[in-house]
Amino acid sequence: MSSDAPAATDPLEGIAPEPGVAKPDPILTIDGVKRSFGGITAVNVDHLEIQRGIITGLIGPNGAGKTTLFNLMTGFDTPDTGTWRFNGAPLSGVPAHLVARRGMVRTFQLTKALSRMTVMENMQLGATGQLGERFLPSLIPGLWRRQEREITARADELLARFKLDHMRDEYAGTLSGGQRKLLEMARALMVEPELVMLDEPMAGVNPALTQSLLGHIKGLRDDESRTVVFVEHDMDVVFDISDWVVCMAEGAIIAEGPPSSIGQNAAVIEAYLGATHGQAPARRRKQAGGTDQ
């Protein structure tokens, strides 16, 4: 799969595989972010940089704090301390909807397909800057009909790409779990994000769909030059599509580096094997059979 690597010159070539290492062109920089729930420290990240234009895999046993870190970065939760910058601008305290409008859009581990809206309506909702979303202009269709047509055309393209076009006018509630994951990803793209944060996009997706989902994620990087951070448990998948892998355990970043270096990393093996509620990475292979060709 190394033939799929983005460019001849790897931007992270020669970067030391050490937790918190500086990168040439970070889109997201996190400093001293801590979040605890009662006695549990869910997230405790000293320093982390996410390189622009690549796919970063975020791994770690269950409860490592991956989802909480996503929530904090995207304004869905507030840290006890810490700051982070997106494209150089501080994001601490910015509400979730403004984070999305600045270009960082996340999906959810438990999908949030809007069940009683059609697949197309889910997609249309994702477009930003719609005139018809304002109260008074919304009453005059002439003002927003053209924009609505453009949005619909863009949504149709994405739906075709994600093979959801045949479900276009169905309620999203009728989709299968895997289709909902696809819809949520396609919908996030309607926002035109620079950075896409995918929380376990492959969980619950049947193996037949996983391959195309992986293809879509690579496409985000290769065809649209977006930055992707994704959480995944299946090591084959992580090694297949990530340019860089970050591993969390008990809230902290314990290792990061190119995929080739992570599998042998002592701290990572220790985190997976030592964690009582985690699963060893290798054991996931059987469940996700068919992902490697």
Binding site: T74, A96, L98, A100, S115, R116, Q124, L125, E133, W144
Partner: protein, 327 residues
């Protein structure tokens, strides 16, 4: 006797009170049906609309139109006061706050301290003259066997006209991208947020709009009765409005109208039947004249239960939507 009861029921079902309740239900449809906001204090907005008119005209001698505007402005302020602290929190906070606020408003209007302004427990009257002075309908009795006076017909036309106007407004809003955001909030507000929508701002708009429609309902109610009294604005009024909405079908444009017609038809029909049977001595004392109100409500409650069992989407609700697994 059957036809007499039928005409009694029909007269109430199309009357101004039913129109006022339809407006309350249209407002609740905005809140609950489309946005998923739990407003259990719609009667508070109704009270503000009714007293806005009554106080402006009866207490301060202002014109009727100003009274209506005061009522609407009051509803906007009430919605802001209720919404700002609660709309960022879980849905149940709004529910508790609204029900309490409506009761507080009722207590304020009825305390002796506010008597110079609100008339206290006795309320206010003689503020609707301006409305009836505008009546273009020649004096007489209308609609044949219903024998409706020209004054009542005038309030009916204005009341149901307002129902039509606000129904049309919500219909236009809900088919627009604005309405799409509102519905997405009902489904999952975090999803809307993750797509860059300012959920708080849209919830606030919904709360204000539905509250204003409720206040207009209150104004229609006050003008048609030509009197306001604090103790007509009991919490149960909100629950009647919810019953109307659910009966007709939530999140449909026609639900509040059909619901109000059926609700008042059944209530008035039952009351008329019980009263006439009891007057004719054909009813056990248990249901007798003292218990007509309670018996009617019991029956309506039973009817709603049966409806929820056999037709949970309401008369005009969307069955397929109901059956979708929401999470």
């Amino acid at each position: 006797m059957g036809t007499v009861i039928f005409f009694d029921a029909l007269r109430t079902a199309i009357g101004p009170t039913a129109a006022a309740y339809a407006l309350l239900a249209v407002g609740l449809n905005m809140h609950f049906g489309y946005t998923g906001l739990l407003n259990f204090g719609q009667v508070g907005f109704m009270l503000v609309g009714a007293y806005g008119v009554a106080i402006t005209v009866a207490t301060f001698g202002g014109p009727l139109w100003l009274g209506v505007l005061v009522g609407i402005a009051g509803a906007v302020v009430l919605a802001l006061i209720l919404g700002i602290p609660t709309l960022r929190l879980r849905a149940d906070y709004l529910a508790i706050t609204t029900i309490a606020a409506a009761e507080i408003l009722r207590f304020i209007t009825r305390t002796s301290g506010s008597e110079p302004v609100t008339g206290g427990v006795f309320g206010l009257r003689q503020f609707a003259g301006g409305f009836y002075a505008l009546n273009p309908i020649p004096p007489g009795s209308y609609l044949g066997p219903l024998s409706i006076s020209h004054g009542r017909l005038w309030t009916m036309i204005v009341g149901w006209g307002l129902v039509a106007v606000f129904t049309l407004l919500l219909w236009a809003l809900m088919r627009s991208p604005w309405g799409r955001i509102i519905r997405s909030i009902r489904e999952d507000e975090d999803a809307a947020r993750s797509l860059g929508k300012n959920v708080f701002y849209y919830k606030m708009q919904s709360l204000v709009l539905g509250g204003v429609i409720g206040a207009v309902g209150g104004a229609v109610f006050a003008v048609s009765l030509q009197t306001v009294q604090p103790d007509t604005f009991l919490p149960q009024v909100t629950f009647f409005a919810f019953a109307i909405l659910i009966l007709g079908g939530t999140a449909t444009w026609i639900g509040p109208i059909i619901g109000a017609l059926i609700f008042w038809f059944v209530i008035a029909g039952m009351q008329s039947a019980l009263r006439r049977l009891s007057d004719a001595g054909q009813l056990p004392e248990f249901f007798g004249s003292q218990a007509v109100g309670a018996t009617t409500l019991t029956f309506v409650g039973l009817l709603l239960m049966l409806l929820m069992i056999f037709r949970p989407q309401g008369m005009f609700g969307n069955k397929r939507e109901m059956q979708l697994d929401v999470k």
